[in-house]
Symmetry: C2
Subunit: 211 residues, 2 copies
DNA sequence: GTCTATATTGAGATAGAC
DNA sequence: GTCTATCTCAATATAGAC
């Protein structure tokens, strides 16, 4: 089992934290295979044995980074169950919170993204899919709820979920590729509204809708 | 200047073509940095000096792959100007053709994707943006045409373009991450229709629309 | 154009002192 | 926990014969 070394609040980051930060930065900019442990330890201001002491090897520090980010996203997904309001409101809040977390964790997200959709880069296996599936099913659940409540049109929940995921991914991808023209939270919200004026049931039937 | 060695139709692939094929396959599955020239030449059934003879170095074979794929996509984008019909029809055909080309070139597309949105993996610079921008501007041009012709609603063309790009990207990303549940051309078309029932102008105003 | 053989550098990882 | 010094192997790339 890996040792758990929690950092005291306010303390200057110890070697372990500095190594994680340096690794996140370098993996983010160069990728897993192209980053060397020499670069990581140099950026962290320590020597190689320190990395091997805390993380066993290069794969270990990678997996620890993925795990930390995974835990945060997982917590967010789990918290949806507690939300109140219409399906549209829940969906909006969930997507906004997801997007904010993406921005906070953008370094590891970029790495995850490129490994999930792209080549593995020699990185050890990490089950991104388990999270990915859960995220999608959460969205689909909200869509189905929206259809049941007649907030959304009665079309294929799968296709409707893909449309929503498309909007989220676009917002993230702009952030990854062109942060200078970032949509931001407001832009993502506008795009979602655009989608909902098609997906939503309002405005279509001049009379009727909510009972 | 690189020498140009076109392959005669029907001839068995020569060393150069086999090297390109092997490199595409390996870069696609492992990424640029994690792929070694030893693996490439072994998969191509030649020895190292052959690769260096044709491509100068590892960067050279990568750039040649990117260039070949770039030329194909660029040709597709240029051909849009010649299309006839409504903006909606043009958009649908253009997206369908793009998606088909993505599928044909999926190996290099996966690599481009992961490098464009992700870390550079130690790969040499290639200006993906020049194509990316052109592609987006083509879509935006069609959206603006659609608004002018009152086929689409009079909302922000930028946001509407993002919604469309989201749908295209989702179809590609499913192909990259989960080909077994692929949307396919039909699925992408369904998703676009879903979007257009929001973006399009039909069905909103009970009377009016096209003059 | 293609080979064998080799130069050279830098990678991941560790031994063992403190 | 952290260091210096070092091991070992594999990476890119080339020289030079055929």
């Amino acid at each position: 089992m890996d040792q758990i070394v929690l950092q005291k609040r306010g303390s200057p980051p110890g070697s372990r934290q500095r190594l994680l930060g340096a690794a996140a930065e370098l993996f983010n900019s160069k990728g897993y295979a192209a980053t060397t442990v020499r670069e990581i330890v140099k950026a962290a201001g320590v020597t190689k044995p320190v990395l091997y002491y805390y993380f066993h090897n290069k794969e270990g520090i990678f997996l620890e980074l993925m795990r930390e980010t995974y835990v945060k996203f997982n917590g967010l997904v789990d918290s949806v169950r507690l939300e109140k309001g219409s399906a549209r409101e829940k969906l909006g809040r969930f997507i906004d919170q997801s997007f904010c977390l993406f921005l906070e964790e953008i370094k590891t997200v970029r790495l995850m993204y490129s490994i999930y959709y792209g080549p593995h880069q020699g990185a050890p296996f990490f089950d991104f899919d388990i999270y990915h599936r859960k995220y999608q099913e959460t969205l689909r659940g909200l869509v189905i709820e929206g259809i049941r409540r007649k907030e959304f049109r009665d079309e294929s929940p799968e296709d409707m979920t893909w449309v929503i995921i498309g909007a989220i991914n676009v917002a993230i991808e702009i952030e990854l590729g062109h942060p200078e023209v970032s949509l931001g939270r407001e832009g993502l919200d506008r795009v979602l509204n655009l989608i909902f004026q098609g997906i939503g049931n309002e405005g279509k039937k001049p009379a009727g809708g909510k009972k």
